[in-house]
């Protein structure tokens, strides 16, 4: 048990620190630092341009896609080195949101299932930020029930013709490539009729429509497919093996290690030092202290759980479903913390205006963004099921859609359009 760097780790850290101090866009640091959860304007001008510049610089310096092999544009580093890098990169990491899906999920899937040629062609461009990827999984009818997707891919010669609709696709508008799961057989059980592809997002017939979120942002999109043609060479895994391929993607989602989820604790602690309640300075108000303490153990608990994962990873263990706790705990905590902070502000807390609201409207933005956290990337309910079934070994829910041909599974429509 050791929290301190080994000499090798310390050397790596100092190398990273030096490189960042010489190369990072220092002028953006202040804006990035104060950017809170649910806030999107870091005042960096064109965010995509800033992101691409930083990613490219990192790749040139050997700091991008740290854990990927060098031949695919990575740095061949260890899990702990990645963590050290992340802690040194700090606020600059907020520049790289556009690459999260590609580097964290699509790349590793391609690494496992793609041909050598695919990998050598695509991965370095992903690592350097030249190409952006998105993940085309969820559909309006299939969210938690991902295997219930209905987008069809029909074979035609050595191509596939895709029709259907995806939703909740982050960054679809900016993406060059997409990882697409589609149904290639409706006559077999739902998990068995799926196939995975990657496709050029500029293909004819692909239409992207942004979804306006409740907080006014539009990070997500709907993506419509009308007779979109994908070469069979861009299939990942066998026909009908799509669900297995998707599990690689989802496992890598959990594998996005290092910095644990934001929870709002630090922000609330800092804020409590600044303001007054009916009982004096908030940090001295026993009610506030008690709440802070129960948030504190969640925040540190998640952080140290992430460290435990990294330690396991560096011993060569695969990150398992136990990593589901992060978002489960952080999601409702963010909502709770933001409500509590607004309560401390009283009626004034209503104001949501970066210039007027305390702490740059941090908690107001968090309030409006946090409900999505409990849903995106696996709802609270799905995560509890994952923990119950895959960690604790409890039975699966009773399934009425198992061993039934996909086209015979009950739906809202078949139930009389309720």
């Amino acid at each position: 048990m050791n929290f301190d760097d080994t000499p090798e780790e310390a050397a790596f850290r100092s190398k990273a620190r030096d490189w960042i101090s010489a190369n990072a866009p220092r002028e953006l640091h202040a804006g990035l630092s104060k950017l809170g959860f649910g806030q999107s304007d870091a005042g960096v001008g064109d965010p995509m341009q800033a992101a691409k510049q930083w990613q490219k610089k990192k790749q040139e310096g050997g700091w991008a896609a740290l854990r990927w092999p060098r031949e695919y544009g990575g740095a061949g580093a260890s899990a702990i080195e990645q963590v050290i890098w992340q802690s040194e990169e700090g606020a600059y990491a907020k520049l790289g949101g556009a690459f999260t899906i590609g580097l964290g999920m699509c790349g590793p899937t391609l690494m496992t299932w793609g041909t050598e040629e695919d990998k050598r062609k695509r991965l370095p461009k992903l690592a350097s930020g030249e190409e952006i990827w998105c993940q085309l999984f969820s559909e309006p009818i299939a969210g938690s029930d991902l295997a219930g997707i209905r987008t069809r891919a029909a074979p035609e010669g050595d191509e596939w013709v895709v029709n259907g609709q995806k939703i909740w696709t982050s960054g679809a508008k900016e993406s060059d490539w997409g990882l697409l799961i589609a149904r290639t057989d409706t006559g077999v059980a739902k998990h068995r009729g799926l196939t995975m592809f990657f496709l050029d997002m500029k293909s004819p017939g692909v239409e992207v429509r942004p979804i306006k979120q409740m907080n006014g942002d539009a990070h997500f999109n709907e993506v419509y497919f009308t007779d979109v043609r994908i070469p069979d060479a861009q299939r990942l895994g066998a026909v009908g093996q799509g669900w297995t391929v998707a599990l690689t993607t989802l496992m890598n989602e959990r594998m996005s290690i290092g910095g644990s989820m934001p929870t709002g604790f630090d922000e609330l602690l800092n804020y409590a030092e600044e303001i007054e309640t009916e009982h004096g300075r908030a940090i001295n108000d026993p009610r506030v202290r008690s709440r802070l303490a129960s948030y504190a153990v969640k925040a540190t608990g998640l952080q140290y759980s992430a460290y435990r994962s990294i330690s396991a990873l560096s011993r060569g263990e695969e990150p398992g479903p136990e990593n589901s706790i992060g978002k489960l705990v952080a999601g409702s905590m963010l909502q709770d913390v933001s409500r509590f902070a607004l309560d401390l502000q009283g009626e004034y807390g209503l104001i949501i205006d970066e210039k007027l609201s305390p702490d740059n409207a941090r908690f107001q933005r968090m309030l409006m963004r946090s409900p999505a956290t409990r849903i995106e990337g696996g709802s609270d309910e799905i995560l509890r099921n994952i923990i119950a079934e895959r960690v604790l070994g409890l039975p699966a829910d009773i399934r009425v859609d198992k061993d039934v041909a996909f086209d015979r599974i009950p739906t809202a429509a078949s139930a009389g359009g309720r």
Binding site: S144, G346, I351, I375, V400, R418
Partner: protein, 374 residues
């Protein structure tokens, strides 16, 4: 003992609900939210014509004189319909201040017009983040002229007058009536978490005001009126919570996953059950508050605080979980879930946040242990 609304009041509820269903679908609240409109003016006019707003204002002052239980019924339906109306500021507060401590002239000037909806009043108290106390008020009146800044002021852009808490010439906190179209008043819209009920910043620079109520009694009066407003607001909150619960229930019946209605999963069933429980606890507390308000009981402070605390919990829970039940759709601008989420968080803070009311609840229960459970 009869712990329920009377059959006449229930009939009133049916007709008020029908009225709001016809005249204030969620799209109306959304219309205000998405525009710069301060409130739903055509609805406000109709509500005024129906006399709904005037339920608790005596006939002699242009009201209907029906009573507070009737006003609670209206409030509940307004909350359910997400009505984009200045109810909290004009009816639950401004009118109440005038009835409590207005001079006959002040009452005659404003009450009939508030009752009909012709005029809108509001309350301008807050200036900064944190609890309300004398330190938090720097606005000042000298020679009947007001200087300082108030924000956020609900319906501040639409209101004809504001009841302003300010330091008087003896440095006590007193109340004043400021007409907002007058010289020396500048109004700037302020964005809040719920733009379906707009707020403004009011800058006073020597605006002429007249005193309301006894000098130095400002904070005590605010507390007294907020107790009354808390009960009425609690009814808006339980109306909203009910609507959010209904939305979530309906969606859970409609939406299929894994070949079943999602409402057949215990995770969803039990979440909805917990929302219901929270709502019923709030409803019962609100009923008690309505009774205390209607008979001017000395238990009102405790009853109002209980109603307020429980209703805030219930609406915040129901509105947040309604999003959760809707999944990704619940987080879109297009779906109405966020209207309730916004409203629930607005109403939670409108009269001071939950912790303020928790404090007031315990203080009041200690003074009047009659509220203690059996």
């Amino acid at each position: 003992m009869q712990f329920d609304f009377s059959s006449e009041q229930k009939e009133l509820q049916t007709s008020v609900r029908r009225f709001f269903t016809d005249n204030s679908p969620n799209s109306a609240a959304r219309g205000v939210l998405e525009s710069t409109a301060g409130h739903d003016e055509s609805l406000w006019k109709k509500v005024g014509e129906q006399g709904f707003l005037a339920a608790a204002i005596p006939e002699a002052q242009g009201g209907v004189g029906a009573g507070y239980l009737e006003l609670c019924v209206v409030a509940q339906e307004a909350g359910r319909a997400l009505a984009a109306l200045p109810t909290v500021s004009s009816i639950y507060q401004a009118a109440e201040f005038l009835m409590a401590v207005g001079t006959p002239e002040q009452q005659a000037k404003w009450l009939p017009r508030l009752a009909s909806g012709e005029a809108i009043g509001t309350v301008a108290v807050t200036e900064a983040a944190g609890p309300l106390n004398p330190k938090a008020i720097t606005t000042r009146v000298t020679n009947q002229r007001l200087t300082g800044t108030k924000l956020p002021v609900a319906d501040g852009s639409a209101a004809d007058f504001a009841i302003v808490a300010a330091k008087d010439e003896h440095s006590g906190i007193s109340l004043f009536i400021a007409e907002l179209a007058a010289d020396g008043v500048e109004r700037t819209p302020v964005e809040t978490v719920d733009p379906s009920r707009k707020h403004a910043r009011l800058d006073f620079d020597g605006a002429v005001v007249e005193p309301l109520g006894a000098p130095g009694e400002g904070l005590a009066l605010i507390e007294r009126i907020r107790d009354r407003a808390a009960v009425l607001t609690a009814f808006e909150q339980i109306g909203g919570a009910q609507a959010a619960l209904d939305m979530a229930r309906d969606y859970a019946l409609q939406r299929f996953a894994f070949g079943r209605q999602i409402g057949s999963f215990q995770a969803i069933k039990h979440m909805l059950a917990d929302m219901y429980v929270s709502l019923e606890l709030a409803r019962s507390n609100a009923y008690y508050g309505a009774w205390a308000l209607s008979v001017d009981s000395d238990r009102l402070p405790a009853a109002a605080a209980s109603a307020r605390v429980a209703a805030t919990q219930a609406y915040q829970l129901c509105a947040a979980n309604n999003i959760q039940v809707h999944g990704g759709m619940g987080f879109t601008w297009e779906f109405d879930c966020h209207l309730h989420y916004r409203r629930s968080n607005y109403l939670a803070l409108a009269l001071g946040g939950p912790s303020h009311w928790e404090e007031r609840l315990i203080e009041s229960v200690r003074v009047n242990p009659a509220l203690k459970a059996a």
